[in-house]
Amino acid sequence: MPSLNHYLLLSLLLFGLGVTGVLIRRNALVILMCVELMLNAANLALVAFGRAGGGLDGQAFALFSMTVAAAEVAVGLAIVVMIFRHTGSTDIEHIRLVGGGAEENR
């Protein structure tokens, strides 16, 4: 019988995978996918906590979270498409829309 801690551990691992993905991958789309992973991990934790004695609040919270996630994906993808049109690539290394850091301003 899985306990709360088990669920939390799972959530934790999923979240960690998401974070790592965000930091490692260069494709903007894959990064967004990893963000979704993180969100799901959080939702899982929410529902688990709710199940552990919080009525339906945890699930309601998770529902709203999903809603927001969906909206965010829509807008985020639209932005990725825009950037692709502008720069011809989804590689985040090639996005330099903000002016320089150390390399440019000498």
Binding site: V19, V22, L23, R26, I31, I92, E93, I95, R96, L97, V98, G99, G100, G101, A102, E103, E104, N105
Partner: protein
């Protein structure tokens, strides 16, 4: 006569010329030279009148009562330091006040004529009055601090007056040199004063004298203080090593040279030593130093005077040399003899300078008439034969020359001879010998000056010579008065062995109360008690003989056979070069002192000021800049950086949350 009764008149002595200075400074420009000069002369003349009246009253007092200290009010009361404004009237300060104000009055009068065409006359007379105020404050002060006020004041006025024509950079430079060199001496003075204050806790003359009385002879404190104060004296009174400013100071107007550099300011050092005689009596090492420096300077400066061509430069080196005599006297304990020479020297040296001024003034006039602005009116090689053209100037100048050369019965003989006798009698034979040689040289170069300037034929040609006019009474009257004084002042201080008329040594007697503890009087009595009159006669005749030799040699070389002088120069070119160029002392100082100090200043300016301080300030700015550059890298525009930053930030927050 009590401190209360003389409080006002005593204060008037320095304050009258101060008032004159203020009035001339503020309003003088609106008047003309005559009015401005008359005001200044009246101010200092008033001082002299007051001093004279005090002197007459002073004679009524018994000997023990001849020391009146007047306190005018507090100056500084800080902690254990307690200083008041006070003036002291005793024989020494009264003597100085008298001859200072007297000679100064004559010189102010003379200036009305000499500076009549000067556009900045108001400034001149203001400065001259200001100087008189400072000098009188110096000699009348009742404690070291009031004296120092006057000490610094005369230094300042000296600078202002030497560099009077400051638009000429050379003259301005001379003023600066005087001030800077004096500053070194002043530093010594201050240190000496601090030393005394540290030991005694007061700067009042009487209290200091009482405070050091218990110390054993040769103790380090009076010795150190005496030497430090003497350093100040070498600056003010132009002795080795700080004499170098005085010849340069001839850049100022000639009456200034007469007043400041012959009769008054340069005598401040001697006043200081006389005032501190009790200190020097406790420090034989310091006294010996004073004597050696004095004798050396006397001889050294005399050698330089031999070769100079500028009439004022000869007189300048002569002044340095004569001051050396006075210090020699002080150094062997003959305080009153030194002071006697101070007074007689004031008369004949002022006369010499004023006479030179008269000559220069006449030369200027002639050059102006023939529209020549290139020839130097002060160069003796352009003069000659002026005795007939400027008779009053010549005869008064002659009197002064005889006086300074040390021929009896004029004043210089009595004072100089007394010094030489004292030097010999106290056992300082080498110093006596140096003084004797210097006397011979003095006679030589002074008569050289006289012959070159007034005898022979005028070297500018007969036509030019016709333009010469003797100067106005305003200028010649002071000359005549000073000539009389130079002639008869000697009789005020008759030495015993010559005292056929039994005049007594009034000078010594007048000053006796000041030097109660001095070795001076005791010594004199001891020596005279031995009745060594024969020795005195011998030495006196020796001095006169030496002076005569100088006169004759000068006559031969500059009157009878000028070609001999020229040949002597040819045969000793190196020696002549060294004499003419004042033994290259200035160049030595330049290399040894000025250049290193300038280099140090340059280094400080470059490394400390520009490098360190500016560097620190700029460095702070650069630090901000560098930090900003570094921090700016966070805004790289590169997404991976931003994502990482976010992740780390979240991690930090979580850590904080979970550890609370």
């Amino acid at each position: 006569m009590s401190p209360e009764s003389i409080a006002l008149p005593l204060a008037l002595i320095p304050l009258l010329p101060l008032l004159g200075a203020v009035l001339n400074g503020l309003f003088g420009r609106a008047t003309n030279a005559k009015v401005s000069g008359a005001l200044a002369t009246a101010a200092i003349g008033g001082s002299f009148a007051v001093a004279l009246s005090l002197f007459l009253q002073f004679q009524q007092l018994p000997e023990e009562g001849r020391r009146l200290l007047v306190t005018y009010g507090p100056w500084m009361h800080v902690g254990s330091l307690s200083l008041d404004w006070s003036l002291l009237l005793d024989p020494l300060s009264l003597l100085y006040a008298l001859f200072i104000s007297g000679v100064a009055t004559l010189i102010h009068l003379y200036s009305i004529g000499y500076m009549g065409q000067e556009p900045s006359f108001a400034r001149y007379f203001a400065y001259l009055n200001l100087f008189s105020f400072a000098m009188l404050t110096l000699v009348l002060g009742g404690n070291y601090l009031v004296m120092f006020l006057g000490w610094e004041g005369v230094g300042l006025c000296s600078y202002l007056l030497i560099g009077f024509w400051f638009s000429d950079p050379e003259k301005a430079s001379a003023g600066k040199k005087a001030f800077v060199v004096n500053r070194i001496g002043d530093f010594g003075f201050l240190l000496g004063a601090f030393l005394l204050f540290g030991h005694v806790g007061s700067l009042d003359y009487g209290q200091v004298q009482a405070g050091v009385a218990g110390l054993p002879v040769g103790h380090w404190l009076p010795t150190a203080a005496a030497l430090l104060l003497f350093l100040g004296a070498t600056g003010k009174s132009a002795q080795i090593p700080l004499y170098v400013w005085l010849p340069d100071a001839m850049a100022g107007p000639t009456p200034v040279s007469a007043l400041i550099h012959a009769a008054t300011m340069v005598t401040a050092g001697l006043y200081m030593i006389a005032r501190n005689h009790f200190l020097y009596s406790l420090a034989p090492a310091a006294l010996l130093t004073v004597a050696i420096v004095g004798a050396s300077t006397a001889l050294f400066a005399a050698t330089i005077g031999l070769a100079q061509r500028d009439i004022k430069k000869v007189l300048a080196y002569s002044t340095v040399s004569q001051l050396g005599y006075m210090f020699l006297a002080m150094g062997v304990g003959a305080y009153t003899a030194g002071l006697f020479h101070v007074v007689t020297h004031a008369f004949f040296k002022a006369l010499l300078f004023l006479g030179a001024g008269s000559v220069i003034h006449a030369m200027h006039h002639v050059y102006h008439k023939v529209h020549d602005h290139h020839r130097d009116p002060q160069d003796m090689r352009n003069m000659g034969g002026l005795a007939k053209r400027l008779p009053i100037t010549y005869w008064t100048f002659l009197v002064a020359t005889i006086a300074i050369a040390g021929f009896p019965p004029f004043a210089g003989f009595f004072s100089k001879d007394e010094i030489l006798w004292q030097a010999f009698a106290t056992g300082h034979w080498p110093l006596w010998l140096m003084g004797l040689c210097a006397a011979g040289l003095t006679s030589f170069y002074m008569f050289r000056l006289l012959f070159l300037t007034f005898h022979g034929t005028y070297r500018g040609g007969e036509a030019e010579a016709a333009h010469f006019r003797e100067n106005a009474l305003v200028m010649t009257l002071p000359l005549m008065l000073l000539a009389v004084l130079s002639a008869i002042a000697g009789f005020w201080g008759m030495p015993h062995f010559l005292d056929f008329a039994h005049l007594g040594n009034r000078f010594d007697e007048f000053l006796a109360p000041v030097f109660h503890s001095g070795s001076d009087l005791a010594l004199r009595h001891a020596v005279e008690a031995h009745g060594n009159v024969a020795l005195e006669w011998t030495l006196a005749l020796g001095s006169v003989a030496v002076a005569t030799l100088g006169l004759l040699q000068a006559r031969r070389w500059y009157l009878q056979k000028p070609e001999l002088a020229a040949r002597a120069v040819e045969r000793h070119p190196r020696l002549h070069d060294r004499l003419l160029n004042k033994w290259y002392v200035d160049e030595l100082y330049e290399a040894v002192v000025v250049k290193p100090v300038a280099a140090l200043c340059e280094a400080c300016s470059r490394q400390v000021d520009a490098g360190l301080i500016d560097g620190a300030v700029n460095g702070t700015a650069r630090l901000a800049e560098v930090a900003a550059q570094g921090v700016r890298r966070l805004q790289s525009g590169r997404l991976p950086h931003y994502l990482t930053a976010m992740a780390l930030g979240v991690a930090l927050l979580l850590a904080l949350v979970f550890t609370r």
